[in-house]
């Protein structure tokens, strides 16, 4: 099985703080990680390879330092890493990103059987890149995939929905987005880490893809971010004075007024 996994390097949002003045993320000093559900996609790919054989190629689009994310996936056991990087790709929204990713897949992996993505990234939370890539590739897709069975070119996918599961059959080539409940991603092995830096990660630029400048990055993005704000979470506390009975009475009155009890 020829599998392509699309991963994204994101800031570890557990460590991110918001600048109270500018309302933007403070990225300085925040470690970068593989987007958690993309790790589930890598794990799914490695499990399928163990069962059915084939090759796991991991692809990311990002700045040169996204190389680390590919090395980590290689250390987990992926076969090859590909870094799509070009200054023209910068500032892309999900549409332009999917365009670049789908063109890469068509160019570099014309015979792919399966593309796996994480459900969504923890920085943008759109869950759009996977579905849009499938549309641009013209292949069937299942989002929120939890379990995957393979029989020849037929896939049976269990999909998580709000109140249960759907079981969907489709044929390859196809694209799936994987949820975190699908599996527990393996740790990279220590020897895998040293091996991962012994191999070359192939760089892909627009010289390889030959897309029009208007289709790329900020120029190729129909979405425009006008402003980013964060809700003000500071609430004013109120201190009741008096004896405990009066305080409790006041508290209950106030909660009643707000329909909280």
């Amino acid at each position: 099985m020829n599998i392509v996994v699309l991963i994204k390097q994101v800031p570890d949002t557990n460590e991110v703080r918001i600048d109270p003045k500018t309302k933007t993320l403070i990225r300085k000093g925040v470690p970068s990680i593989i987007n958690p559900e993309d790790k589930n996609a890598v794990e799914q790919a490695l499990t399928l390879k163990q069962k059915y054989g084939g090759e796991v190629n991991v692809v990311t689009m990002g700045p040169p330092q996204a190389d680390v994310a590919l090395r980590e996936a290689l250390a987990m056991g992926a076969d090859k890493g590909f870094l799509i990087t070009d200054r023209f790709f910068g500032g892309a929204d999900t549409y332009a990103t999917a365009k670049t990713l789908s063109t890469t897949i068509k160019t570099v992996f014309p015979d792919f059987d399966l593309v796996l993505c994480g459900r969504q990234a923890i920085d943008g939370d759109t869950a759009q890149v996977g579905p849009q890539t499938a549309e641009q590739l013209g292949v069937p897709q299942v989002t929120y995939a939890k379990e995957v069975e393979v029989s020849g070119n037929k896939l049976t996918v269990t999909r998580e929905v709000e109140d249960g599961y759907e079981v969907i059959e489709l044929t390859t080539p196809a694209l799936l987005t994987v949820v975190k409940d699908a599996n527990q991603p393996r740790y990279p092995s220590i020897s895998g880490i040293f091996d991962a830096y012994e191999v070359d990660v192939k760089k892909i630029t627009n010289d390889d893809l030959k897309l029009e400048r208007e289709e790329l990055g900020l120029k190729g993005s129909p979405t425009k971010v006008v402003a980013t704000t964060t809700p003000d979470t500071q609430r004013k506390g109120e201190v009741f004075t008096g004896n405990p009975k009066e305080c409790c009475g006041n508290l209950i009155d106030r909660l009643n007024q707000r329909h909280l009890i």
């Binding site: 092995s189 220590i190 880490i193």
Partner: protein, 358 residues
């Protein structure tokens, strides 16, 4: 000068840190109470190649370097000092002498399964009357035809009773003192070898510390490690408070706002940085083949005293809560104490250091 870690070292630290937080930290308090050896964790560490980080792949290792190994020990010890010491006793004390002085056959037979983590290693030097002063060894080894016969006992042996392979020191020629000590590779099932008293300790409770007993123990001649009389060279010793301070309120403000606590936290952080510098430098010197015994002594002395200073101050910052078992800081302090004692006490490190100066 370049103080940065390589990308590989950074990733080793990150992966081991995640492993430590997810797999090792959750049961650390319980294991401290029960003294249960973390066999499951050691098996998982083996699966991830952590049991032979600095050894070449052809001998079952991860093909890494000493700094990566030190970073792994550091990350594990942050959450469970017992797990850290199980790994370091195995890697530095058992695997290392075999990799350095072992024959090709010994490396294939013993280093490969040890570095792969299929087997656990230990090191037996200390006796009731011989610690760092190895020349007073009372365990003797007598050559009888195609094998040696070992008699005597070893105490305070880390991984004792849990290990499969032991590097054991014994006198082969008492008339030669230090130059009469030899090293042997002993398997746990060798006839005449048994485990004696298991120690009940103040800290590092999830690691095993045991007495080893040799009663006419038969060791094949080919298990002599290095040449006879070379043992002494091998035996030469190888080498959460800020968060609480922000949360704990007294006199209407977090205790971290008080200057006394601020000074503590700054001093603690500085001691940790000093220790890290000396430990990483020693690991780096080891990697490039330039380490002297004083490099290890500086690092060992500074790091163990820093560990004791920092954990004692942490208990102080936590106050009453620091003294009870609801928080792990009292465990950190008990665990830290042993670092000033084992593998050459602080006083021995000072002897090594002053010996090079005077």
């Amino acid at each position: 000068m370049d103080f940065s870690f390589t990308k590989q070292q950074e990733m080793v630290r990150k992966v081991v840190s995640e492993f430590a937080k997810n797999e090792v930290e959750p049961g650390a308090d319980d294991r401290d109470l029960t003294g249960e050896f973390p066999e499951d964790i050691v098996r998982k560490m083996a699966g991830l190649g952590m049991m032979g980080i600095p050894y070449p792949k052809e001998y079952g290792g991860a093909g890494g370097d000493y700094i990566s190994y030190i970073l792994a020990v550091e990350e594990l010890s942050k959450v469970c000092a017992s797990t850290g010491v199980i790994l370091s006793a195995h890697t530095s004390l058992c695997c290392y002498p075999i990799s350095k002085w072992g024959t090709e056959e010994q490396k294939k037979k013993y280093l490969v399964p040890l570095a792969k983590g299929e087997k656990l290693g230990a090191f037996g030097l200390t006796e009731p009357n011989a610690g760092t002063d190895a020349a007073t060894q009372q365990t003797v080894a007598t050559l009888e035809g195609d094998h040696y016969v070992l008699n005597g006992s070893k105490i305070f042996i880390t991984n004792g009773g849990k290990a499969d392979v032991y590097v054991i020191f014994a006198m082969t020629d008492e008339s030669k003192g230090n130059h009469g000590i030899s090293a042997f590779i002993v398997e746990k099932d060798f006839k005449g070898f048994s485990i004696g008293k298991i120690e009940d300790k103040m800290g590092i409770n999830a690691s095993s510390t045991a007495e080893l007993v040799f009663e006419d123990c038969i060791v094949p001649k080919e298990n002599l490690l290095g040449d006879e009389g070379r043992g002494f060279a091998m035996a030469n010793p190888l080498p959460s408070s800020p968060k609480y301070a922000k949360e704990r309120q007294q006199f209407g403000r977090p205790i971290g706002k008080f200057q006394g606590i601020k000074w503590y936290v700054a001093d603690m952080a500085t001691r940790v940085q000093e220790a890290k510098m000396l430990v990483y430098r020693a690991a780096w010197k080891k990697q490039v083949g330039k380490m002297k015994s004083t490099d290890a002594a500086y690092a060992k002395l500074c790091a163990s005293e820093a560990a004791m200073y920092v954990t004692t101050k942490a208990v102080q910052i936590f106050g009453g809560y620091g003294y009870i078992k609801d928080y792990p800081v009292e465990r950190y302090m008990r665990d830290a104490k042993i670092t000033e004692i084992y593998e050459g006490t602080s006083e021995v490190q000072k002897m090594v250091i002053s010996g090079s100066l005077l």
